[in-house]
Symmetry: C2
Subunit: 534 residues, 2 copies
């Protein structure tokens, strides 16, 4: 029955709230199940006190539509939980798929803003209703994650490599896989998570842990000390060879068991030696031992990679380590020593990066776990899924809170660009309207709520944001993760930095066409009659 | 190859960090892979600024051990990422399973405290090392989640029913499933998440959403208005019948489309009518419409359930609603109306519950989503996995920060109870020690760090906390989720409330036997020689 491979066995039509099924039953009983419904999926507020969001999850949404089909054992289970429902309903459920559904979406990885539908779904009321929870689940966290990753990218700057290290602290196995995937989309360079590498082709990286260092007692722990030089010409006992090299580096008072561990690791990866240097004492033992082994490897023609710092004052330790690299390189006339990579990985979050930057750190790579994958600063994006039209009649969800009012009817979104080719604003327009923004023509855009707030734009470029990805079947491809990542990074370059600022961002305007503005306000007043004074 | 059904297709040996594999290779190269290693999995700090934690995840850990086996396509992938590693290593990886591993754990659902190992794993160094990331992943979030749920339970009190509503905001599909599962373990009564119900037998609940209400335009939306009374004797047009009942209740100025939706829902679930009442105006439309339909159903012999509030001042609205229920019940002489259930579900977190309590709310059921499942107040538990012994030699991870020092060697944990049968403290004792706490005998317990802080306990009961769950194969069953939940709730009753206080909790003592205290401190001093003044 399954048409394409799912990432996760849990992504089935039962990834949903029970009320979707009780509603489906009530729709079916009222013969409303096939009414033509339009739902918008959107968020009301950017996460992390920021002013932008990166759209993630479209790839899994499309996979979900391919596979949207209740199985007999799902139905058997549902019957036990809805014992008084008619058999005809369960037959109906079993017959459902996404062949009558249309899905429009903004492109995967689009930098997006509140109120603009990320996804618009049209189809039989009961079916589209059943898609609510899975679509929200498949979009909320991926978008949050991609946004968080992009923020880390902006915070750490273009020169720093970013690694996702969150597998152990993620919210379950799939929290981990989604984190790896969408942090890559948001601009990370690699992950430590092996399964994410296997499933999605994301580059994976990793070296060793403290336990590796602690597991070595002394040099006798190394049973196979033989190492050939890089040309495969001469063979040495690498333990003895390194202990000789140690006399040259002069780092004699370091921890021997740590040195043994480094030698053990270098024997396995002579081409890619990177050492975790803080098990005992970073500057008195770890870095000296690293340099001894790196020098020993150098003498055999191997170029080491660098160190990882996992505790302490990372800025200060990185500067001190860089100084030691440079001095050691100068001592032996080896130029590349000064450029050894410094990886840092201890509880890094956005404020920590700002502080490291202010302290002129010498770190080349951040390994980021907990704060990235759990999105500590705001662990959920509040996407909602709202009915905006039924059988051609626009619907509005009223609320006394302005921010919670939905914009009724089917809508298109356009991104209007200024002379410098930077996006100026997004504007929502009624579908099939003749009031459409055009290049070189003045267009009136209105704030959805504040009557006096109007902007006139003469766009140099007009980009429609939505396109149809699913029309009974998939009609447009979702680009690869690597392409999506590239698209994200390009947009981060091209959007006015005031909107991307991490600390004091400026709101990006999301507006309505004049026609949609009046349509919204007329309906709003109509649905909410004036209070009768008695 | 798989021996038991996994919950999630992503839970494989590749649910791991790459460095576990590079380390495994280095162990293998040094012929250290079969050294007998002991690792402790523990946390250093209770989450949520609290003083207790509920252990979750043991069930999935045991499943993982059953299925721990690399597949050929895993190996094929790994070869591409570790191109210079020897073929023998990959053959070795392919041969691995958990048949040489021993796992001791505290019981699933145990209320536990920092430093006490949740799990102790013993076995071949490389294998146990490979278990690190998956075990942390499978324990960190479940324990965090169960703890968070228990806190919600404590906050809302024994009379309130708790529903987990977080599927759409959880961190991925498995974030959702883990959230449903371990919130049940922590004391929740049911979930909205259908898959969790199917997989784990957790009760599922749900009614309808705002979109359901919005989807009804008027009474003509109801195509099948016929309803039989509860005895199946008389048949009415339920729309007409309810409009007549409305004349009796006198609620004539309510929103008709909302009333139509409620009638539509009641027709489908006449036995379990529960209405979401805030789509238009809770007190002017929603509750009156609910009461009209409930009265109409009452006249046909059906008893309605209640209402759900999803916005506004929940305490005030619940009190006003209760008042309206009571008045309406009195008017028609129906006693049970005053007891209609009030479900509340808008962005509820711990502080919100404290506030609701202070305002004497009339809510019977909390539906909690985002704040529960994302553990907003602290989205990660920091469990670590530390090597404590290798080939019988104790290992210690030093750190300048006292809190980060590990307690070396194999240890047993005992919970000592006082006269009132309440736990007094936990004490760690060296495995195979003769210094073991016994009922009625004085036992000296020491703070791990502060020399002067000693306690003498004469326990009325001594409970060893660890038992062996896995010895090459599963040797002890993990109780069902329902039993585990019961165990959690029993402990919450029996632990001194000062440790469970949500706002100003008192630390529960975790101590060492005198022998272990000296063992730790001797090793610590030995491994960290005095600073040489120059």
């Amino acid at each position: 029955m399954l048409k394409i491979k799912t990432t996760n066995s849990l992504v089935t039509p039962l990834l949903t709230d029970k009320y979707q099924l009780t509603m489906a039953y009530a729709y079916w009983k009222s013969e409303k199940q096939n009414q033509d419904a339009v739902f918008d999926l959107f968020f009301r507020k950017n996460p992390f006190k920021g002013e932008f969001t990166v759209f993630g999850g479209l790839d899994e949404v499309i996979k979900f539509l391919h596979n949207f089909k209740f199985q007999q054992d799902d139905i058997d289970y549902l019957k036990t939980t809805m014992p008084n429902c008619e058999q005809g309903f369960f037959d109906y459920l079993l017959s459902l798929d996404a062949s009558k559904v249309k899905l429009f979406a903004i492109d995967h990885g689009t930098i997006c803003f509140p109120k603009i539908p990320l996804v618009r779904v049209q189809g039989p009321l009961a079916v589209v209703q059943l898609l609510e929870t899975p679509l929200l689940n498949l979009i909320n966290y991926p978008s949050l994650m991609a946004t968080n990753a992009a923020r880390f990218k902006l915070a750490s700057g273009p020169k720093v490599t970013l690694l996702e290290f969150g597998c152990r602290r993620a919210q379950g196995p799939d929290g981990a896989i989604s984190a790896s995937k969408y942090s890559f989309v948001g601009g990370f360079d690699a992950t430590s998570h092996v399964e994410a590498g296997k499933l999605f082709g994301i580059p994976i990286q990793g070296t060793h842990a403290h336990s590796f260092v602690s597991s070595y007692m002394d040099f006798s722990d190394i049973k196979n000390p033989t190492l050939k030089d890089s040309k495969g010409e001469k063979e040495v006992n690498f333990v003895e060879f390194t202990l000789e090299a140690r006399k040259e580096t002069g780092y004699l008072n370091t921890n021997d068991s740590e040195l043994a561990a480094f030698i053990g690791y270098a024997l396995s990866f002579p081409d890619g030696f990177l050492a975790l240097v803080d098990t005992y004492d970073t500057l008195l033992s770890g870095v000296p031992n690293f340099l001894t082994v790196a020098y020993s490897l150098h003498k055999l023609g191997y170029k080491s990679v660098g160190i990882r710092l996992d505790s302490g004052d990372l800025a200060e330790l990185s500067k001190q380590s860089r100084k030691m690299f440079t001095e050691c390189g100068e001592k032996f006339g080896v130029d590349y020593f000064k450029d050894f990579r410094i990886v840092a990985s201890n509880d890094i979050n956005e404020p920590a990066i700002h502080k490291l930057n202010a302290n002129n750190h010498e770190i080349n790579v951040f390994g980021i776990g907990t704060h990235l994958v759990t999105c500590q600063a705001q662990p959920a994006l509040g996407c909602v899924f709202k009915l905006v039209e039924i059988d051609g009649v626009p619907r509005i969800k009223l609320s006394n809170e302005l921010i919670k009012i939905t914009i009724p009817g089917k809508k298109e979104a356009y991104r209007l660009f200024g002379k410098d080719n930077q996006p100026l604003l997004d504007v929502l327009v009624k579908t099939d309207s003749e009031q459409i923004p055009k290049v070189g023509e003045r267009f009136l855009c209105r704030d959805p709520a504040i009557e006096s707030k109007r902007m006139v734009v003469t766009p140099s470029k007009v980009v429609p944001l939505h396109s149809c990805y699913w029309d009974g079947k998939q009609v447009k491809d979702v680009p690869s993760l690597a392409e999506t990542r590239k698209f994200v990074l390009q947009q981060l370059e091209n959007i006015n930095p005031v909107h991307l600022d991490l600390l004091k961002p400026k709101q990006y305007p999301v507006t309505l066409s004049d026609e949609l503005y009046h349509f919204l306000h007329d309906l709003w007043l109509k649905e909410q009659p004036p209070i009768e004074l008695k």
